[in-house]
């Protein structure tokens, strides 16, 4: 059974859906549709990369969708108010990093569970920007701004989102695989106390991870706004956050930390993208789509629990 871990199960399901869809669905196996599938999961994938790094380090960042929507809403608001682009971008970036640092600080030094910290910071970011900064859910991209060009950019007929996703996946892979701090993420996630006793700077690394996830969220927001020519803060109320967790977890990044990598995010994202595309082509009603999606998530978690039982030694260190 060890050979059949969750990652492989999900990969098998994804391949099965792909083969069946390619044979049974009209115009599924066209370059255009395949690009559309990858594109549809690019933003989700970028968010899941950020979430993945946090979850591997045995954390979770529930503020990502709020940071994604509200940082870009703030940025666009500043631009629409006539602020120079560099200043607006700098200010927004500083805000994004500050949220990441605050999340990391509260988790690492105040030792508040990540799930509560980020749930609260997400609500704060949304509530503050929504009530104090922007007056409407939707904030338009100013005419002639570079984001408009970014949204229209399609080198080789492929939307810019896909390239950004690919580059970020590569960068995160290099970070986790080849850098010292990247390797430390696994040690800290697997057993934080042991990692700390071994002299690994566990707390500063926590800060770094939450800053990374906040930056990933900002990038995802910029790409969303570039394509839609506006950002809508209503996305905070959507199921996007659960979808991010689902992509990370379904691909095999265990919520107990220390496991998985970029490959798992890619597999999870592929499964979601294929499922949604096939269900849309099949015209399955929305309510059933949600049911199927959540059923798959539940099944993956149950299978994960059965195949990868908790390690008694680390389980006592406390979960998220």
């Amino acid at each position: 059974m060890g050979a059949l871990n969750q990652e492989r199960i999900v990969l098998l399901i994804a391949v099965a859906i792909f083969v069946v869809a390619a044979l049974a669905l009209p115009d599924f196996l066209t370059p255009g549709n395949l690009i559309a599938i990858v594109r549809s999961i690019s933003v989700l994938g970028i968010l899941a990369l950020g979430m993945g790094v946090v979850v591997i380090g045995r954390g979770i960042d529930l503020s990502m969708v709020a940071v994604m929507a509200m940082s870009v809403a703030w940025y666009l608001h500043l631009l629409n108010d006539g602020m120079a682009d560099a200043a607006a971008l700098g200010l927004t970036l500083a805000g994004v990093v500050a949220v990441g640092l605050a999340n990391g600080f509260l988790v690492a030094y105040a030792e508040v569970p990540a799930i509560f910290v980020t749930l609260a910071s997400g609500s704060f970011v949304f509530g503050f920007v929504r009530s104090q900064v922007i007056s409407q859910d939707a904030v338009p991209v100013p005419l002639g701004h570079w984001m408009m060009d970014l949204g229209a950019l399609r080198p080789g007929g492929i939307p810019a989102d896909v390239y950004v996703f690919a580059l970020m996946a590569l960068a995160v892979w290099l970070f986790l695989r080849f850098t010292k701090w990247g390797r430390y993420v696994y040690f800290a996630g697997d057993n934080p106390v042991a990692a700390r006793n071994a002299g690994i700077p566990v707390r500063p690394m926590l800060l770094l991870r939450y800053v990374l996830s906040a930056l990933a969220a900002f990038a995802a927001g910029l790409l969303t706004a570039a394509s839609l020519q506006s950002i809508n803060s209503r996305v905070v109320n959507s199921t996007l956050l659960y979808d991010i967790v689902m992509v990370a977890v379904i691909g095999g990044i265990g919520l107990s930390g220390g496991k998985g990598g970029v490959r798992n995010v890619l597999i999870g994202a592929a499964l979601i993208g294929l499922m949604l595309n096939a269900m849309t082509i099949l015209q399955i009603p929305q309510l059933f789509q949600n049911l199927i999606k959540s059923g798959v998530l539940l099944a993956a978690i149950v299978v994960d629990g059965l195949l990868n039982p908790r390690d008694e030694q680390t389980a006592q260190q406390g979960d998220i």
Binding site: D27, R130, Q136, A138
Partner: protein, 340 residues
């Protein structure tokens, strides 16, 4: 004798004049009566969210009008949460002093029905706006969504004439909201009369622009020859427009939608070709109908829940060709007028 007669006449005239004079000087009882019945009345607006153009437009007009008759106007912002909206209604029912009129936009057919019935029993008039619900409100003010869908479908039929594929795509809202269900019904009624028009696909956006973009991209992959797409709300149609734009089909696939008729959301986008036709929900007419109902009910003396009326706004399809300077309303100008 003649002198006497004249004198008597003059006296009679003077008498008549004298008694008439107080009547002429007496003022119209209307304003005092109006003020007595409306002064200090409390009106609360509870839309799905205060964060979109229609709600801000309603609020601006109601605020100005309620203040003008000496009433108190408040809004609640449930921020698209049905639970928060229910809580706001509950709070309003139990508030002291109790509000006199609740102006509520229901999120779906049933969620608020019992609460609103309770409000009426407590002596609060309930106006339902924009979204119909299974509840006998003192008045429903807003769109006849079946008719609105029919208008959209007629626009699609006109875009899908000879020489086109006659294939139409729908981007529905959520399959549970009255606005989504009735709009769909109206669209299909019209298409039933035009058997040559074929609905190629009808995915759901959940009112979210990113989802709308993804499902439309898929739909266009399957059916690149669509002649028109009807999206059920301009709030997510930006995503549908992005998918059409990214597929290089702007102008070929006509995009029809509905919205509040705010300038930047609808008329500017018609002008720049993002949308090809918009059925606007006529904010001014809708809002002033609310104002009239509030003024009427507060003076009527009838108990809340006695009567139930539907006051549909007359709507039409706006396109780049028939657009007039007053086809849309300007949120910023309206808010400036209301002193917001």
């Amino acid at each position: 004798m003649k002198v006497m007669k004249t004198l008597a006449l003059v006296a009679a005239a003077a008498l008549a004049l004298g008694s008439a004079a107080p009547v002429l000087a007496d003022s119209d009882p209307g304003p005092a009566d109006y003020a007595a019945k409306l002064q200090g009345k409390r009106v609360i607006l509870i839309p799905l969210s205060m964060g979109f153009d229609l709600a801000q437009g309603w609020s601006a007009i109601l605020k100005r009008e309620v203040a003008a008759f000496g009433g108190v106007f408040e809004t609640r912002d449930p921020n698209w949460s049905t639970e928060a909206g229910a809580q706001a209604i509950t709070d309003a029912i139990n508030a002291e002093p109790r509000p006199d009129v609740l102006v509520v936009m229901a999120p779906d057919l049933n969620s608020y029905s019992k609460l609103l019935k309770k409000a009426q029993e407590k002596g609060i008039y309930v106006l339902l706006i924009d979204n119909p619900a299974n509840f006998a409100a003192d008045a429903y003010l807003g769109s006849d969504w079946t008719n609105l869908g029919a208008l959209e479908a007629q626009a699609a039929v006109s875009f899908c004439g000879e020489g086109t594929s006659k294939k139409v795509g729908l981007v529905q809202g959520d399959e549970v909201n009255a606005t989504s269900l009735y709009q769909y019904e109206g669209i299909m009624k019209v298409f039933a009369e035009h058997p040559d028009i074929q609905v190629a696909a009808k995915p759901v956006s959940n009112w979210d622009p990113t989802t709308a973009r993804t499902v439309t991209a898929t739909m266009l992959q399957q059916n690149p020859d669509l002649c028109a797409i009807i999206d059920f709300w301009d709030g997510d149609a930006t995503g549908t427009a992005a998918a059409i734009r990214e597929a290089g089909l702007t102008g070929k696939v006509k995009l029809i939608t509905t919205g509040g008729g705010e300038k930047t959301a609808d008329c500017d986008t018609l002008q720049n070709g993002t949308y090809d036709a918009v059925v606007t929900t006529e904010l001014y007419i809708e809002s002033y109908n609310m104002v009239a109902m509030i003024k009427y009910l507060l003076q009527s003396g009838i108990a809340p829940g006695t009567a139930s009326a539907r006051i549909y706004t007359l709507e039409q399809v706006t396109t780049k060709e028939n657009m007039r300077p007053d086809s849309c309303w300007d949120l910023k100008a309206l808010q400036a007028l209301a002193g917001e």
